[in-house]
Assembly symmetry: C2
């Protein structure tokens, strides 16, 4: 089905949220030969997460902008990264060759500030929604969504929603059986309906 | 409720499973002042996960055996770590002062080989269950369980089940409201019944 693994650039920055990144990475690791994960950041070396543990960036941004899939986590670090021209310019460059660009939680604020979501539908987490929406006034923000697909862009709502979105992405690339197999191996109860958002604000 | 954060030793070894570790770490990071995470391993420095990304161990095992909670992930690395006397001896030493010892997925194979689960009820993931059970013939292995609590020991079934277990642990320590708040902030649909195991083998 998939001749060679898709090369995934997993973006790190200080204060990224661990589950935003490692939920999708876990699920992408399960289909045999499906995805290969490369951690990227402004500089090579350890990057401190919002939860404390440090994760090594394998490659600096300047090393390459050529990946099949760009995965952008959220976390409190997005509050400063929305003003980081190096990160935003790398996102703009990496978007062009990428088959898919995905964000989890407030990661969509970074895509929005890079201008990549203008005119597109997208979502983000509940607690920071208004702040995220202000980062992209030309984005069609959807408040009620587990995740949103618009062309090659996949954006999810808060933290755990990234896992449901990642399975949606795996399904688009590898098909339904491979995706159900990945969920089963992770013993993960997939919410496979992007519109089923149990955490949306009532009213 | 909780005068100072519980010090969590998050155990790393080559080939650990990322979601086994970062699912619980994410949820433990959400209650204010609830937990502080310290990554520990045989040696300080980067440790390669089963999924590729490397995570830095903050402290070597010999630095301390005094933590409030020991968190042991699974992953294919457990296949060799069950024969690692340094890791097993550290687990035996760290168990004594710990208020809680928790494992995810095949992490219970390591607790079993250290002798810590003898005479206790425990579980593990589905795919490797028989191999794990052989690591502890004196353990009462439960094949159908999302997670198992026996005294201070919490063991979960495969990968994602670690998040449900982590919330069970948070509930034991901080109570129900703080736990529901953590799940809500992570937009995580908590399976809060340890006996509700949708992945148990039928029959």
């Amino acid at each position: 089905m998939n001749p060679s693994p898709l090369r995934v650039a997993a973006v790190l920055f200080p204060g990224f949220e661990v589950l935003d990144l490692f939920g999708p990475i876990e699920l992408m690791s399960l289909p045999p030969d499906g995805f290969s994960i490369i951690t990227v950041a402004e500089r090579e070396g350890p990057v401190e997460s919002a939860q404390g543990p440090r994760v090594a960036a394998e490659r600096a941004f300047f090393h390459s902008t050529d990946y099949d899939l760009v995965l952008v986590p959220g976390g409190r670090g997005t509050r400063t990264e929305v003003d980081n021209p190096v990160l935003l310019e790398w996102l703009r460059q990496a978007e062009r060759p990428a088959r898919f660009v995905a964000s989890v939680c407030t990661g969509s604020a970074l895509l929005a500030r890079a201008g990549l979501l203008d005119g597109r539908r997208a979502t983000s987490n509940k607690i920071a929604f208004d702040w995220v929406a202000r980062q992209g006034p030309a984005v069609h923000w959807e408040r009620r969504a587990r995740w949103v697909e618009d062309g090659k862009f996949f954006t999810s709502s808060g933290v755990s929603a990234g896992m449901d979105m990642a399975l949606g992405l795996i399904e688009r690339i590898l098909g339904r059986p491979a995706t159900e197999d990945a969920a089963r191996r992770a013993e993960y109860g997939w919410n496979d309906d992007p519109e089923d958002d149990p955490f949306a604000v009532k009213g």
